[in-house]
């Protein structure tokens, strides 16, 4: 018998009513997917195809119009402590120091002060920010801020991490460093993640599987298993000769060449 997936979407559809035009936008349609424990899955697709919409339903912030979302076999109807998300924006609170920002989730969940501080400091050390714990966000670079956001996400010890283009605002070098940090951290902690990205190489470098979505209404049109070693070392993995073939396959699926012609 297979184990319960960490995250599961069953035939999920999301419609948005547009009251001004009286029309209805179908953002995603009939999406089913399943992510096993410890798996890292990337979601790619043209912009506006409903990737963020899927993630919002996974976090329990927005309800699905039809279909169901499950985390650890439990139906998701509202935000819960088993899912945590991370966006392109770091969303660090400017009035809190870095360590206080990392503690936010645990604080809301009622974790005792000493315990959450210890955990936050340990995570900041792991995310290579030990010297900046008592700094304010504006004193950090974009890459450091995004690392702090990752620590904040991990601090609540979620079953599933939902990440919506977390590195897309960073410069190319910083991005590679953070991918490496994320790859290591996910492997060390054995966390399960759904990772949205526009960057095809990033998808190949970080994930076990890649789901490709169609234009709106978004559906999953292809599922690709990335069969390359070193998932815990994205820096080495992106140098692997097989990467190019995966990227070409993704380009074809997304019809990127047709769009450019």
């Amino acid at each position: 018998m297979p184990r319960t997936p960490r995250l599961e979407f069953r035939d999920v559809t999301k419609r948005f009513a547009n009251p001004r035009q009286g029309s209805v936008v179908v953002a995603v349609e009939g999406v089913s997917l399943s992510i096993a424990d410890g798996e890292v899955v990337s979601l790619i697709g043209p912009s506006g195809c409903g990737k963020s919409t899927l993630l919002n339903m996974g976090s329990g912030l927005d309800p699905a119009s039809s279909g169901e979302v499950y985390v650890d076999g439990e139906r998701v109807t509202k935000p819960n402590r088993h899912v945590a998300f991370m966006l392109q924006k770091d969303l660090l609170l400017p009035w809190r120091t870095i360590v206080e920002n990392v503690e936010l989730g645990q604080e809301i969940l009622g974790v005792p002060r000493g315990e959450r501080r210890d955990r936050a400091l340990a995570l900041l050390a792991k995310c290579r920010l030990p010297d900046f714990v008592h700094h304010y966000p504006h004193q950090l670079s974009g890459g450091m801020r995004q690392r702090a956001a990752l620590a904040r996400t991990l601090a609540v010890d979620p079953s599933v991490l939902l990440m919506d283009e977390p590195f897309s605002a960073l410069d190319a070098q910083t991005k590679m460093v953070l991918q490496q940090d994320l790859g290591r951290t996910l492997a060390d902690t054995g966390k399960t993640a759904l990772f949205i990205t526009h960057d095809l190489i990033e998808a190949v470098a970080l994930s076990d599987r890649i789901l490709v979505m169609s234009q709106r209404p978004g559906r999953i049109i292809e599922e690709i298993t990335v069969d390359i070693a070193d998932r815990d070392n994205p820096m080495r993995r992106r140098q692997h000769p097989k990467v190019a073939a995966y990227v070409v396959q993704l380009m074809n699926l997304l019809q990127i060449e047709q769009a450019a012609a």
């Binding site: 912030l61 935000p79 402590r81 609170l93 009035w95 936010l104 809301i108 609540v156």
Partner: protein
């Protein structure tokens, strides 16, 4: 560089303080001698030494400190109540778009209405007591505070609220951990404006009616044609305003210590 920068800054600060003090001395000297040189009589502009003498006289004979205390008390009470009301309404309207929509025409009307015009009305209602003065003060302080808090709640990035909610924050936690601290910088900008308006509110109330406070002294001195007394009273009113403003700035530097220094105002 880490050593040179603060040292250079300090040097710059010292130079600015010296320049500021120098300017003050020049100002006092001009006040003392310029009117005489230009042939302006003392009942139009009394010299600074005359005003100082008058100040000492008023301390002894006109219960100047008592009247200043009364005005300061009304300013303090009116400011605190007005700020509390403004913060309360700002958050309430910010959180309820329906309430804001329904109430916005009335708020706008009251916002545009010259608040000082209410002073005679409040005197009809409450007589020559401290209440009309405090009430005008509350009314005039209320708006800049409310508008700034409302704007802050509106301007808050919804994704920050969603982040808190994703950590299972309830309504109160969203308010206390996100909305309230996020409103602090605009709130203090509103408090700076309110601090200067608070004195105006009380003063107008006192000018319209009563037998206490600096506004009363001002009207009385004007009636008696005692220009030096008018000057003393204006200075005392200004000092009350400066004290309140100073308190606001002092609290602000404590509360908003996290802001990068370039984001804070110098005065």
């Amino acid at each position: 560089m880490s050593v040179a920068r603060p040292a250079m800054l300090q040097l710059g600060v010292r130079r600015m303080v010296v320049a500021s003090a120098l300017l003050f001395v020049i100002f006092l000297a001009a006040w003392q001698w310029l009117p005489g040189l230009l042939g302006i009589p003392p009942f139009i502009i009394p010299s600074v030494s005359l005003v100082w003498q008058e100040f000492l006289h008023m301390l002894a004979r006109d219960r100047l400190l008592f009247h200043t205390g009364i005005t300061a008390m009304q300013v303090g009470v009116g400011f605190i109540l007005g700020v509390m009301l403004g913060v309360l309404c700002g958050f309430a309207l910010g959180m309820s778009p329906t309430a804001e929509f329904v109430l916005s025409p009335y708020i706008l009307a009251l916002q545009i209405a010259p608040k000082v015009a209410f002073a005679p009305l409040f005197i009809i209602w409450f007589g020559y007591t401290v209440y009309p003065k405090i009430l005008v003060c509350i009314l005039i302080v209320f708006f800049p505070v409310m508008i700034n808090v409302l704007g802050a709640v509106r301007a808050l990035d919804p994704d920050v609220v969603r982040l808190a909610k994703s950590f299972t924050a309830n309504r109160f936690q969203v308010f206390w951990k996100i909305e309230f601290p996020a409103a602090m910088p605009p709130l203090f900008a509103g408090l700076r404006i309110a601090a200067t308006l608070a004195v105006i509110g009380v003063l107008v109330g006192e000018l319209v009616g009563g037998n206490m406070g600096l506004g009363y002294l001002l009207a009385f001195s004007e009636g008696a044609g005692e220009t030096a007394k008018v000057f003393v009273t204006i200075i005392m009113l200004t000092l009350i305003g400066i004290a309140l403003y100073g308190i606001v700035v002092a609290v602000e530097t404590r509360v908003l210590h996290y802001l990068p220094s370039r984001a804070r105002l110098a005065i």
